[in-house]
């Protein structure tokens, strides 16, 4: 029977692999060590700047443990979505770190660098051919949208990992990939059940999140021709039918239909069984529906303005009675002054969040709620950083003294910082929630190999 055993080192590369638990996984002789290095959860800035969220120090810590294990057992390492956003330079950074580790330890390995960043021209051509389609909940786009981002990547499926591995790579460093493709690729290549490979990959994508206790450590996955088994590396945790089934609802829109570039994972009819060891759960009955058309999901992010922020604390009872009226008042007053002075109100926007009141949970607060103090965050968003600063400075005297009660003396609110305002830099936006039709799973993917 074909099987494939995967050591999922950690839920997110750079979070800090515990080497002791990792070694427990190595002892059971895995066929692959895998980790996901990416996410869009922290917002568009990372992709727009092709910037990594994780420190180089922590990346090296985790990669060193994985690479050592890989060289000791002579098994491959697959990393997906290098550099958080999967940009080309994210792959390069991972390559530099891995090269350093190999040299420092006297190891030899063939490294594959797999890139999935796409250029504007390629995307414009796809768009003009009608090959870019919106997913549910997508923003409206036009040809112009393709000039409004800094970086774009496509999410690769399992095929690029398979290709790099078949070319003899020991360490596969990929740009943006689906979380699942990293893990599903090798079991598919080894002739395991395709649906089980995908569902197993989905189960371990966040490491120990699929266990009864979240330990922050890795998990061990074994896929075969009928299903998959999963268990934690930490012996104090358990994969139970409940914990494994429950992972399908975590940060997924639909727990029963999960879309990949090559098709859909259907999990409605799965059977979850606790194995006699009490820590392993077996899953069978997953189905995989192959897509008629192979698609790569597109991600891109660009600058939409520049921001300046100011923080001011308020305990004034008159203001606390109705912070929203004060916010409307100060904004209108400030904008009127600035318009008189020649600033165009269409070029900037002032917004407030009243923390301790409703900054986090917007809208009406309960009638019986009376905060003792609140923190006002004023954000100015403008076309340029200079204009954002100008608006913030113009608002400054009002932030200090704008009264809630005009019959009293002017209050002075509490600035915690000097200067009171702070240029926050650009703000960004994700531009697409779309997929691209491709003729071949490798059409938009580029490969480079190096022997170290």
């Amino acid at each position: 029977m074909n099987t494939c055993r995967i050591l999922m080192a950690i839920g997110g590369l750079g979070a800090g692999i515990d080497e002791n638990y990792f070694r427990l996984g190595l002892e059971v002789k895995p066929d692959l060590i895998a980790a996901d290095a990416g996410s869009t959860d922290s917002g568009p800035a990372y992709l727009a700047n092709a910037m990594c969220k994780t420190s180089r120090h922590m990346l090296k810590h985790d990669l060193e443990i994985m690479v050592k294990g890989s060289r000791e057992l002579d098994i491959p390492v697959f990393i997906g979505s290098c550099g958080t956003c999967g940009s080309d330079n994210g792959v390069e950074e991972a390559y530099e770190i891995v090269t350093e580790i190999l040299k420092e330890n006297g190891y030899h390995a063939k490294i594959a660098k797999v890139y999935s960043e796409v250029g504007k021209d390629v995307l414009k051509k796809k768009y003009s051919e009608g090959k870019i389609h919106p997913l549910e909940g997508a923003p409206g786009i036009s040809e112009k949208t393709f000039d409004e981002f800094e970086h774009a990547v496509v999410l690769m499926g399992a095929e690029p990992f398979i290709k790099a591995y078949e070319e003899g790579a020991d360490i596969v460093l990929c740009g943006r990939a689906t979380d699942t493709a990293i893990v599903a690729a090798l079991p598919i290549l080894r002739g395991c059940n395709v649906a089980a490979a995908w569902h197993g990959a989905k189960t371990v994508e966040c490491g120990s999140q699929c266990c009864d206790v979240e330990t922050g450590m890795g998990v061990f996955l074994e896929v075969d021709e009928e299903g998959f088994n999963v268990r934690p590396l930490n012996p104090e945790a358990h994969c139970t039918p409940y914990s494994v089934a429950a992972h399908l609802v975590y940060e997924n829109v639909d727990p029963y239909v999960l879309t990949e570039p090559s098709g859909r994972i259907l999990t409605k009819d799965c059977v979850y069984t606790q194995l006699p060891d009490g820590v392993t759960t077996r899953v069978t009955g997953t189905r995989f529906e192959h897509a008629q058309q192979y698609t790569n999901k597109l991600e891109a992010a660009g600058i939409v303005g520049y921001q300046n922020i100011s923080l001011v604390g308020c305990a004034d009872p008159d203001l606390l009675k109705d912070p929203e009226t004060w916010i409307k008042g100060i904004t209108a007053y400030g904008m009127k002054n600035m318009t008189k002075s020649g600033l165009d109100p269409n070029d900037y926007r002032i917004s407030f969040k009243a923390y301790g009141y409703n900054g986090l949970l917007p809208g009406k607060v309960p009638d019986d709620f009376h905060p003792r103090e609140i923190l006002m965050l004023m954000t100015v968003t403008a076309k340029t950083q200079e204009l954002a600063k100008t608006v913030a400075k113009s608002m400054q005297p009002l932030l200090l003294h704008f009264p809630a009660n005009w019959n009293e003396q002017l209050p002075s609110f509490a600035f915690p910082f000097s200067p009171a305002d702070c240029d926050r830099g650009p703000c960004y936006e994700f531009k697409f929630h779309h997929v691209i039709d491709v003729d071949d799973p490798l059409e938009l993917i580029r490969f480079a190999y190096a022997e170290v």
Binding site: T40, D41, S42, G43, P44, A45, L135, E136, G137, A138, P139, Y242, A245, A246, L248, V249, Y250, E251, N252, V253, D254, P255, Y256, Y272, E299, V304, G305, Q307, R349, S351, K353, G359, L360, L361, P362, G363, T379, T381, C427, Y428, E429, F430, H433
Partner: protein, 105 residues
């Protein structure tokens, strides 16, 4: 009348990619799950609490784990210029505080 947070084991909200958000309601047993399944905790209430339209809200009943789940597009992608909860991780509080009205039998 009880609040959802008093009936459910826990309520969790999270982004599901940059363009969608989701709320999972976990119950300790079938009885409380079934009670809420037939209560006012439906797409209409979620839409009202989170400022979206009921027809955009997807509802899932996960019988095997006693979970009720709602997902909907967040309107503006995460991390936009007016973002207040990037991971949507605190927004469960609105639904957790909702009063549960049992179906009349």
């Amino acid at each position: 009348m009880a609040k959802l947070k008093d009936i459910a084991r826990y309520v969790r909200s999270k982004n599901a990619g940059p363009f969608w958000v989701t709320i999972d309601i976990f119950f300790k047993d079938k009885e409380s799950y079934e009670m809420v399944k037939h209560s006012n905790i439906q797409e209409e209430l979620v839409a009202e609490l989170y400022g979206t339209r009921p027809e955009l809200v997807k509802k899932f009943y996960c019988e095997n784990i006693n979970v009720i789940k709602f997902s909907w597009p967040r309107g503006r992608a995460s991390g936009n210029a007016d973002e207040y909860d990037m991971h949507f991780g605190q927004q469960y509080v609105f639904l957790a505080n909702a009063e549960v009205e049992e179906a009349k039998t």
